[in-house]
């Protein structure tokens, strides 16, 4: 079974994302910020991480930089999913090791296209 960690401080976004990922055959886990996400990854590394940028406590980019430094943290495919849609943000995410980047608003078609792109489905 494919596993996905959904990291977003908005409960609504997490619910929407969870529904889409479940339809695509994933089992989902949730985290509300980067710190919670690091804890979740320490327990069990997911295959895919859907990652918001702006979150309290620890932002998405800080999380990603930390994740890629931890043991086994290079394995998950990380897909940013954020309202930040400027060139500089995308570039920064890619440099930090993001595999794909979704600009909100998103729908199932976009998620599916991105997951196909990175070979996660």
């Amino acid at each position: 079974m494919n596993t996905c960690l959904i990291v977003d401080d908005s409960r609504v976004v997490r619910k929407v994302a969870q529904k889409i990922f479940e339809e695509l055959g994933f089992t989902c886990n949730e985290a509300e910020d980067g710190k919670q996400a690091l804890e979740a990854c320490a327990k069990s590394m997911p295959e895919v991480i859907l990652l918001d940028w702006n979150m309290p406590v620890m932002s998405g980019i800080e999380f990603l930089q930390e994740l890629r430094k931890t043991a086994g943290g290079d394995a998950p495919k990380v897909v940013f999913c954020t309202t930040e849609n400027d060139f500089a943000f995308i570039q920064k995410a890619l440099e930090a090791g993001a595999n794909e980047y979704i600009m909100k608003p998103f729908d199932k078609e976009i998620v599916q296209s991105k997951l196909l792109q990175i070979g996660a489905i």
């Binding site: 849609n85 060139f87 600009m103 976009i110 296209s113 792109q117």
Partner: protein, 290 residues
């Protein structure tokens, strides 16, 4: 809609663009042509439109034909054809065209441009083509959609369908909320108006042809005719890509499938990679269901 009006549009569309419209698709005529009639200030709905068009009206005819086309497309649509292009066909052409270092590619129903731009990006990503003379000719029947293709400006939604993020940052610039193709990619493509139902020899000969997701709108005789037109401007060792739901089998014997690469076709008299003969013998037309 009156029966005679339906017949009028049915005949007109088949003649002008090849589009087959069945009575179940009457709603499509209404949803697309009523706004057109309104915009043109024509009274009496579709009946009024037909009246205005009887006896010939070139600009209205064009507007009706364009309004009825389906322009659905996306970057790297279906993905596999583009993988095949990269993995199977580029190496073959790099070998066979190594001396001339030139390649001509045709996107035969390019819609808003995602297909030719995807091809251009693939070429850019293949370092072996550095220094080659490469021309991509992208054609469509619709002037409106060609203008969009040429502008190369896409919404956030469009650039998120099929286009890898690395390609977006490499080949596009952000313009407000939209994304625009960079000039060096645009300059690889010449956009031209061309109807597949007409003689297209003025376009010259091509090594690689993409004619995807347009034959599906035609009836069998029209598909056959268009395939012959394409054959006339495909080099003897050239290749043809069709859409996922399209084939030549049972329709035409001027092309045959390339056995080891699904969805790709070569001329019946093909010399494509002849030394390796990966080509299947053409099935006799009588043996396949029409």
């Amino acid at each position: 809609m009156k029966d005679t009006d339906f017949k009028f549009f049915e005949e007109l569309l088949k003649r002008e663009s090849g589009l087959i419209i069945t009575p179940e698709k009457t709603y499509l005529l209404e949803s697309r042509l009523l706004p057109l009639a309104q915009k043109q200030g024509i009274q009496g709905g579709l009946e009024g439109l037909v009246q205005k068009m009887r006896g010939g009206n070139a600009s209205l005819t064009r507007a009706v034909v364009e309004a009825m086309t389906t322009n659905e497309t996306s970057f790297f649509r279906d993905n596999t054809p583009f993988q095949k292009l990269k993995e199977d066909l580029f190496p073959a052409f790099i070998k066979s065209r190594g001396a001339q270092k030139s390649l001509r590619i045709w996107s035969a129903a390019c819609s808003s441009g995602q297909e030719p731009y995807s091809i251009a990006m693939m070429l850019k990503e293949a370092p072996q083509f550095a220094g080659w003379r490469i021309e991509i000719v992208a054609t469509d029947l619709s002037q409106d959609i060609l203008a969009q293709a040429k502008a190369g400006v896409y919404s956030q939604f469009e650039v998120q369908r099929g286009l890898p993020i690395q390609m977006l940052v490499k080949y596009f610039t952000k313009q407000g909320e939209n994304w625009e193709v960079k000039p060096d990619l645009k300059s690889m493509i010449s956009f031209k108006e061309a109807n597949l139902l007409t003689d297209l020899r003025h376009l010259g000969q091509f090594d690689i042809v993409f004619c995807r997701n347009v034959l599906i709108y035609f009836d069998v005789p029209t598909k056959g005719k268009v395939l012959s037109t394409i054959k006339d401007i495909t080099k003897q060792d050239g290749v043809l890509f069709l859409g996922g739901a399209e084939t030549v089998i049972g329709i035409s014997d001027v092309f045959k499938p390339l056995t080891n690469v699904r969805g790709v076709y070569v001329r019946a008299d093909s010399t494509f990679m002849a030394e390796k003969s990966p080509v299947a013998p053409a099935p006799p037309l009588s043996a396949v269901q029409k």
